[in-house]
């Protein structure tokens, strides 16, 4: 049996489980791979999928298992060439028997990415501060605040240093985590109308603090003598895939020094770099806008947790990604990849 690990990205999050099966099945057929087919009037490939990912949740660690004699590397290469672009395979594992991930998966890590803060209002935009209701109607030309900060508008509009957005901007993720974990009960109503408690199924939580998730924001950088550098009035630096991109106007020589993309393994390095580029240390800090939570994925759906996080923080959840799945074995709770590697 070969198990392929794949990602669910882009518009694939709007595809239901049965249609995901169909999409994978078609990829295997395009690749003309030899897998076991069911018998009967409507033969179809026998594929075993890991537990269903709910709609709207991205996935970094989905699995399907096929009964095949093909060599693992050959299978992977041919499948990868024919696979659906939004379900790209990332790895392949060989096991003697069906690992039955659908039955064995115990828990999963989800990263809940919240809306990024903006310089004027931090995480909560002005309209929310007034009414705490999100208005999604976007007038022509006006940036939808739910989409996060748009640096093009910044220099004109925002004249308050980010720091003044307050500690809630910096600590809001940590505070939300604390509130979540300190709650004794988290009641909700499931799809069948039954009242349930989510808390027992939430095992751990922490602000996601890696280079991929964190965002930095500055506004109105002050010079050493506290004058405002209007040409550096807004910078939105975000770490993407470990590289740093800068939004500073490259005509400015100060900014030019910063306008390089370089791999940065940790957040503090970037802050140092910003300081070296001449930006005032007092206005530089990192902001996390994501929370990683480990939950019992069999008994609790991620969207229930997302709703709770929105309630606790007041900040909308923009995206949920399942980043790892775990199997409970005699030796403890191990990552699904490890389970697949070791189960022979």
């Amino acid at each position: 049996m070969l198990t392929v690990k794949y990602k669910k990205i882009g518009a694939a999050v709007y595809i239901s489980h049965i249609d995901i099966y169909r999409a994978i099945y078609r990829g295997i057929r395009r690749a003309n791979l030899n897998v076991a087919y069911s018998r009967g009037f409507n033969p179809h490939a026998e594929l075993y999928l890991s537990p269903p990912l709910p709609l709207f949740v991205y996935g970094a660690c989905e699995y399907f298992t096929a009964d095949t004699d093909e060599d693992a590397d050959v299978f992977f290469a041919r499948y990868a060439a024919a696979a659906h672009a939004l379900l790209p395979p990332v790895n392949v594992f060989y096991t003697v028997k069906n690992p039955n991930l659908a039955g064995k998966i115990f828990s999963a890590d989800y990263v809940f990415e919240m809306r990024k803060p903006d310089a004027e209002h931090g995480f909560l935009n002005a309209r929310e501060k007034r009414s705490n209701k999100q208005d999604l109607s976007a007038k022509r030309g006006e940036q939808d605040p739910a989409d996060g900060f748009d640096s093009r508008n910044a220099s004109a509009k925002y004249d308050k240093p980010y720091a003044s957005a307050g500690p809630d901007t910096r600590n809001i993720m940590a505070e939300t985590v604390e509130r979540l974990l300190s709650a004794e009960h988290i009641p909700y109503v499931n799809r069948n109308g039954k009242e349930k408690d989510a808390r027992p199924y939430i095992y751990s939580a922490a602000p996601a603090n890696n280079a991929i998730n964190a965002g930095f924001a500055f506004a109105n950088i002050h010079t050493a003598d506290n004058a405002i550098k209007t040409d550096l009035s807004f910078t939105n630096i975000s770490a993407v895939n470990g590289t740093v991109k800068s939004g500073i106007d490259s005509a400015n020589p100060r900014a030019a020094a910063f306008n390089k993309t370089e791999f940065v393994p940790a957040i503090t390095n970037t802050a140092d770099r910003a300081i070296n580029a001449g930006l005032n240390a007092a206005n530089i800090y990192t902001v996390s806008n994501a929370i990683k939570i480990n939950i019992d994925s069999v008994n609790l759906r991620a969207d229930v947790v997302a709703d709770e996080l929105k309630k606790l923080s007041g900040v909308p959840v923009l995206a949920v990604t399942k980043t790892a799945q775990y199997v409970k074995t005699a030796d403890g709770i191990i990552d699904a990849d490890e389970y697949l590697r070791s189960s022979n």
Partner: protein, 592 residues
């Protein structure tokens, strides 16, 4: 993280929140396998608008062809838009979001050209539904230079008059090559600097197939068709939908047109001249589709597949491949002759479909459906010998010259089939489904001037059949109220005066009219009344000599031919299909 995963074009958080509120969000998101490059540099951006849901539109062969054909041209990009379901429509109305394309979520009004596919007569209100949601005025004359050039085309271009005023141009006939010419002309005008719609349209009038409603009618508009059909390759990498659609399969067209010439059939005459694909081309397409789509069902399509000259050789060539790749090859439209059993997959015996259309040989001769009683007996026998246990029979009621004897003829056929089954299988478990639809006279057929029977007549005939078939075990009879069929007849044969009716009906809440439960008879009757138009005029027989709204179109098939065929019908005389010799209908197929 989100940037890591959400690389799908155009789906913002706001849009995503909207999608959470609707059924089947996959209808609106795009991201299908084999999606063409939307970032390609393009001077002209087109959007194909299909006024039905995604599931229906994505099953349409014509759309797939036009879409891939335009996308394969340098400097052109084509996107798609389908009629959103009511939940999505309500959601975007609430948020003041104009209707947008599937691929890049671009508002329809920001495209250069919109191409509407007009598939059937009950879809006309859906055209307005989409224009309304897009924030585009309904009538071409109300749209200035700011709005895209909007064209319509498809099967209903045979009589475009009821909806022509909504479009800047209507493409009559087959769209593939004509659309390319139109696009190129548009590009030329656009690149010249000051694009003027009126000048462009005047130029476009000289492309074969294009009818410009705003220009006075002069010489007849000639129907467009693809001359070298064999050279017109369908997409070898068609879009593979992410959600379940009506026809989840790949389709290969074998040939266009039909030699049979049944007198009620519009498609046979509309798609003449007959043009076949060579065997090698069909194989090439078939094998490419197997490798590029992953569908487990492939359809070999045509109006009458038994008449494809290379059928036996084709099946011999492809059967081994199809079997090895676990593909179900579907051959609809097979004539029930002695060979059909060879072409059907021996492992899948669902039900045998057979369309005698009329219950007696007499009436079959009138409608020129060349199926004899002997044919019926021998093919049904073949079917039962091959293991079929379920038969579906299609008939029409209300055909010209029909009498009660013809209806009882249907019952006789059912009795004969049941007797045959008992004789061959010595069992009584045969299920027969008899389905009747009400005959609708259609443009470009010998019966185009015939009357459509009244509701009372239709109900009486249906009752007669219901009672006559009731005593038979295992036989079920399907029919439906003729309401929407009557509207179909009116829209099929009406003229430009009906645009106001369509507009009125839409504004009063009529759309998705082909969806049985949504068709609102009262609102349509009101719409006709408000516009001062009596629909019964279009249902009654059209007197010989009275001009028909589609007379301005030159379909190649001669009016005199259709009239002579009608006379022969009343004389009970058949016309052989043009298999061995030409009947000189005017289509001028390349006859050897």
């Amino acid at each position: 993280m989100q940037s890591d995963f959400s690389n799908s074009s155009g789906i913002t958080h706001a849009f995503s929140e909207l999608l959470k509120k609707v059924e089947k969000p996959g209808r609106y998101t795009g991201g299908e396998h084999n999606l063409p490059d939307m970032n390609k540099k393009a001077g002209v951006r087109m959007c194909f608008c299909f006024p039905e849901t995604y599931e229906i539109g994505m099953s349409n062969v014509g759309l797939a062809l036009l879409y891939s054909s335009v996308n394969s041209r340098e400097d052109f990009v084509a996107e798609r838009c389908f009629a959103p379901w009511t939940d999505f429509a309500d959601a975007i109305r609430e948020r003041n979001i104009p209707l947008m394309s599937v691929e890049t979520k671009k508002p329809l009004k920001d495209f250069d050209i919109l191409g509407f596919s007009v598939q059937h007569e009950l879809i006309y209100t859906n055209i307005l539904y989409m224009l309304d949601l897009a924030g585009i005025p309904f009538y071409a004359k109300e749209r200035g230079e700011d709005f895209p050039v909007i064209i319509g085309g498809g099967p209903c271009s045979v009589n475009p008059m009821p909806y022509a005023d909504f479009f800047d141009a209507v493409l009559i006939g087959e769209g593939e090559t004509a659309t390319a010419e139109f696009g190129e002309l548009y590009r030329k005008h656009k690149n010249c600097g000051a694009f003027k719609k009126a000048d462009f349209l005047k130029d476009a009038a000289s492309i074969r197939g294009f009818f410009i409603p705003s220009l006075p009618k002069g010489t007849p508009v000639k129907k467009a068709f693809v001359k070298d059909f064999d050279a017109l390759l369908p997409p070898l990498k068609p879009l593979v939908p992410n959600i379940e659609i009506v026809h989840d399969r790949a389709v290969v067209e074998l040939y266009r047109g039909c030699r049979s010439g049944c007198r009620f059939c519009q498609a046979a005459f509309f798609y003449r001249p007959i043009r076949e694909r060579r065997l090698e081309t069909v194989k090439k397409i078939l094998f490419s589709l197997i490798d590029n789509t992953g569908f487990d069902e492939i359809t070999l399509a045509s109006l009458s597949t038994s008449d494809y000259s290379g059928l036996k050789e084709l099946m011999d060539n492809v059967k081994p491949v199809v079997k090895a790749r676990h593909i179900n090859l579907s051959l609809p439209s097979l004539r029930l002759d002695s060979f059909f059993a060879e072409y059907t997959d021996s492992s899948r015996k669902s039900s045998l479909t057979f369309a005698p259309e009329a219950g007696t040989q007499r009436l079959r001769d009138v409608i020129n459906k060349n199926v004899s009683d002997e044919n019926i007996t021998s093919s049904i026998t073949q079917a039962f010998l091959n293991g079929y246990r379920n038969v579906k029979l299609y008939f029409m009621i209300g055909l010209p010259t029909e009498t009660e004897d013809d209806l009882f003829g249907i019952v006789e056929i059912v009795k004969k089939i049941r007797a045959l089954y008992r004789e061959i299988n010595r069992r009584n478990d045969l299920t027969v489904t008899v389905s009747t639809s009400v005959f609708i006279p259609k443009p470009l057929t010998p019966f185009q001037r015939e009357r459509m029977i009244s509701e009372d007549d239709a109900a009486a005939k249906q009752n007669l059949l219901k009672n006559a078939l009731k005593p038979f075990k295992g036989v079920s009879y399907r029919y439906h109220a003729a309401d929407s069929s009557r509207l179909e007849c009116v829209m099929a044969r009406g003229g430009g005066e009906l645009s106001a009716v369509i507009e009125t009906a839409y504004k009063s809440g009529c759309f998705f009219d082909a969806w049985g439960e949504r068709f609102n008879r009262e609102k349509w009757e009101d719409a006709f009344r408000i516009c001062g138009i009596d629909p019964s005029v279009y249902l009654a027989e059209i007197p010989a000599g009275k001009e028909l709204p589609w007379d301005f179109i030159d379909f190649s098939v001669r009016k005199a031919y259709l009239e002579r065929e009608r006379e022969k019908a009343y004389e009970g005389e058949t016309t052989d299909g043009c298999f061995k010799k030409c009947n000189f209908c005017g289509a001028e197929c390349a006859f050897k």
